[in-house]
């Protein structure tokens, strides 16, 4: 199987060569053979020895296209279809996935302190769209792209959750 490590953009391949028993396997990772022995395993977590070293991994997300896990305390995300991804990306015809989105989302929860744009305004990437307050701090939310403000989804004084759409920029 081929994977792309999103943290580093590295392409990796790995496979299970042999199952020695229900708990021991021979793997091939980046061309190198490794012995893996499962110590404990559930849906959420696996503890294992890889050659002679202990590791623990927690699975945070596993869907058809991506898997996110925490390996020995380090969070990593694999893209399961690195080739497919490339095709989709090419066909989208845009420079980056970010730019193609019209939704400006909040990456933090907070209370809306001020709204600094109006519908129809032409704005540039980095312009402040609104200011949120959370944990005693005021955080400016900036536009992720150049464009025009199509709609504003928030009101002053209202609370927003993480990932809520704040505005649409076209």
């Amino acid at each position: 199987m081929k994977f792309k490590l999103e943290n580093t953009e590295e392409n990796l391949d790995g496979e299970i060569l042999q199952s020695l028993s229900n708990n021991e396997f021979v793997l091939k990772i980046k061309g190198k053979e490794l012995n893996l022995k499962i110590l404990s395993m559930t849906h959420e977590k696996i503890e294992f020895m890889l050659d002679s070293t202990y590791h623990i991994a927690k699975y945070l997300e596993n869907n058809t296209s991506r898997i996110t896990l925490v390996a020995d305390g380090v969070k990593l995300t694999f893209n399961k279809h690195p080739d497919l991804d490339k095709i989709v990306y090419k066909n989208s015809g845009s420079e980056s996935a970010m730019d193609s989105q019209i939704n400006l989302k909040s990456q933090i929860p907070g209370r809306v302190v001020s709204i600094n744009v109006a519908v129809g305004d032409k704005i540039k990437q980095g312009d402040v769209v609104c200011v949120l307050e959370s944990m005693k701090m005021q955080v400016s939310i900036k536009s992720h792209k150049d464009g025009a403000v199509k709609s504003i989804k928030i009101k002053q004084g209202a609370s927003v959750a993480k990932n809520d759409v704040l505005a649409e920029i076209e």
């Binding site: 199987m1 994977f3 490590l5 943290n7 580093t8 590295e10 990796l12 790995g14 496979e15 299970i16 020695l20 028993s21 229900n22 708990n23 021991e24 396997f25 793997l27 990772i29 980046k30 490794l34 893996l36 022995k37 499962i38 404990s40 395993m41 559930t42 849906h43 696996i46 294992f48 890889l50 590791h55 991994a57 927690k58 699975y59 596993n62 898997i67 896990l69 925490v70 390996a71 020995d72 305390g73 380090v74 990593l76 694999f78 990456q107 933090i108 929860p109 907070g110 959370s134 944990m135 005693k136 701090m137 955080v139």
Partner: protein, 497 residues
């Protein structure tokens, strides 16, 4: 003698105070908002009372309700922690009026500490040097020019209506000052109806160094060494340590004495902190007194062996400080990292939510003050400090090594933290050499280094993660059944796969 203390706070500092109460056999009373029903301080206190809604103004800042709760529960003293009401002079006065022993300075002293202009005047009288500049508001440009000439360019022209970097102008000569004064004055008049500008010397590269103070009701005053708190983001401390790499015993004695003089100048009582700025040439300028127990007090505890909360309680009880300045010696080195719930790459924006898992480090020389437990929550209503990781070592290097290890062992799931940032900082040559300043993060492009470190770390763990991923795929296809736990029955032979 204090027998029962209400702690008018939450989070790790409430827990910290409860621990000392327990050790001293003093009963503790916790208060909590709607948001904190399941918080650890509520569970640890002798008694706990609900005081209002999540919003601080309706609970932890509600003076009347807190005082009423203290009286109803039979508490005879109030510990304010830090933040919330801890530096509120009216609250200190209210406690005094209601015959509750407020564990901190008097309202009068607190007011003096809180008013920058009054405080500066008191310091000037006590010959404690403050940042050079105008002693108060400057109405006319000629006066501003006089001061600038006296203290030397560059200077900062500031508006008392500003704050957080707004309304501040850096000027390098007379011409620039004239222009800036006119502009700023105009702006200020337009916005606030009057101009209120002052001039202060521009300090290009500074360290933040503070001295722990204690002063009892009998006038005995000591300093308990310095803390170097120069690693900051947005003027908030991230990493603190004691001793400072640039303070030798002579400097400690000298500036420590200034700090003690500052405490005397404002008739300060109980534990507090005198903050200073230090220039590269070794000049120290007093900036303010923090009239409360400081977040970073544990580094002082680890190098002095003192329990500062106990010291606070003893002083509030009217006892004399049980040691003299000469009895105090810095023992080893302690470092603290503030583990905030925030996203380093989102400009340190808050990150809140449920803590689905947490591993707290331990080991020789490691101390963790925290309210976290698996299943606990980080609330958006309160500040982002979840934990303080403090390590002690015989010297800076041992303390640093232990910190690096402890950071690696600290796992918090559910919110973003600055743990990776701290690992990067602690391993830089600049930090190791002690080349610290308040602009450390910018000066050494730490965030770029952090990005590299994170990539390297991910790259190193790629094999392990890939192995886990391959096995998980098999597991999901039901091709592997997890094996049972080892039986511990004496007679059972273990299988040997």
């Amino acid at each position: 003698m204090i027998k029962k203390i209400l702690i008018a706070n939450r989070g790790e500092i409430a827990i910290r105070v409860i621990k000392t109460c327990n050790a001293l056999g003093i009963k503790s009373v916790a208060v909590y908002s709607d948001e904190d029903v399941n918080s650890k301080h509520v569970k640890m206190a002798t008694e706990s009372y609900h005081i209002g809604a999540a919003s601080p103004s309706q609970s932890y800042l509600n003076m009347e309700k807190i005082v009423e709760t203290a009286i109803n529960s039979g508490a005879d003293a109030i510990h304010p922690g830090y933040g919330f009401l801890s530096e509120n002079a009216d609250f200190a006065d209210l406690c005094e009026k209601k015959k509750l022993n407020f564990i901190g300075p008097s309202g009068k002293s607190m007011r003096l500490c809180g008013d920058k202009m009054l405080c500066k005047a008191a310091m000037s009288k006590a010959q404690v040097p403050t940042v050079p500049g105008s002693p108060g508001i400057v109405e006319e440009v000629e006066k501003a020019l006089d001061i600038a000439n006296k203290i030397g360019y560059p200077v900062l022209l500031k508006s008392v209506f500003g704050g957080g970097g707004r309304g501040i102008r850096l000027v390098h000569n007379e011409k620039e000052l004239r222009q800036a004064f006119e502009l700023a004055s105009g702006e200020s008049k337009a916005a606030f109806g009057k101009s209120a500008l002052f001039v202060e010397k521009f300090l290009p590269k500074i360290r933040h160094i503070e001295f722990q103070l204690a002063r009892d009701k009998h006038g005995n005053a000591v300093h308990i060494f310095e803390r170097e708190c120069s690693i900051q983001r947005r003027h908030q401390k991230l990493i603190e340590m004691s001793p400072s790499p640039v303070v030798d015993q002579k400097t400690r004695d000298e500036i420590g004495q200034l700090a003690v003089n500052a405490a005397i100048a404002v008739d300060y009582e109980n534990a507090g902190t005198a903050e200073f700025l230090r220039l590269d040439d070794g000049t120290f300028y007093f900036i303010e007194i923090n009239a409360r127990l400081q977040v970073e007090h544990p580094v002082t505890e680890l190098v002095s062996g003192l329990d500062l909360v106990k010291l606070q309680i003893d002083i509030a009880n009217g006892e004399p400080i049980p040691f003299k300045q000469k009895d105090l010696k810095v023992n080893g080195c302690a470092i603290e990292c503030r583990i905030n719930a925030e996203d380093t790459f989102l400009d340190f924006a808050p990150s809140t939510g449920k803590i689905t898992d947490v591993d707290i480090p331990s080991g020789p020389g490691v101390r963790v003050d925290t309210y976290l437990y698996p299943g606990s929550s980080v609330s958006p209503y309160y500040d982002s400090l979840m934990a303080k990781l403090i390590t002690w070592g015989q010297n800076f290097e041992e303390s640093r090594q232990r910190m690096v290890l402890a950071l690696s062992d600290f796992y918090i799931e559910g919110v973003e933290t600055a743990i990776p940032l701290y690992k990067t900082i602690l391993e830089t040559q600049e930090f190791i050499k002690g080349d610290l300043s308040t602009d450390f993060l910018d000066r050494f492009k730490i965030l770029d280094r952090l990005r590299d470190d994170l990539k390297n770390e991910a790259s190193k763990k790629a094999d392990v993660a890939l192995a886990a991923t391959l096995i998980h795929s098999e597991f999901l296809k039901n091709k592997i059944t997890p094996r049972k736990e080892h039986s511990m029955r004496w007679k059972t032979q273990l299988d040997r796969h």
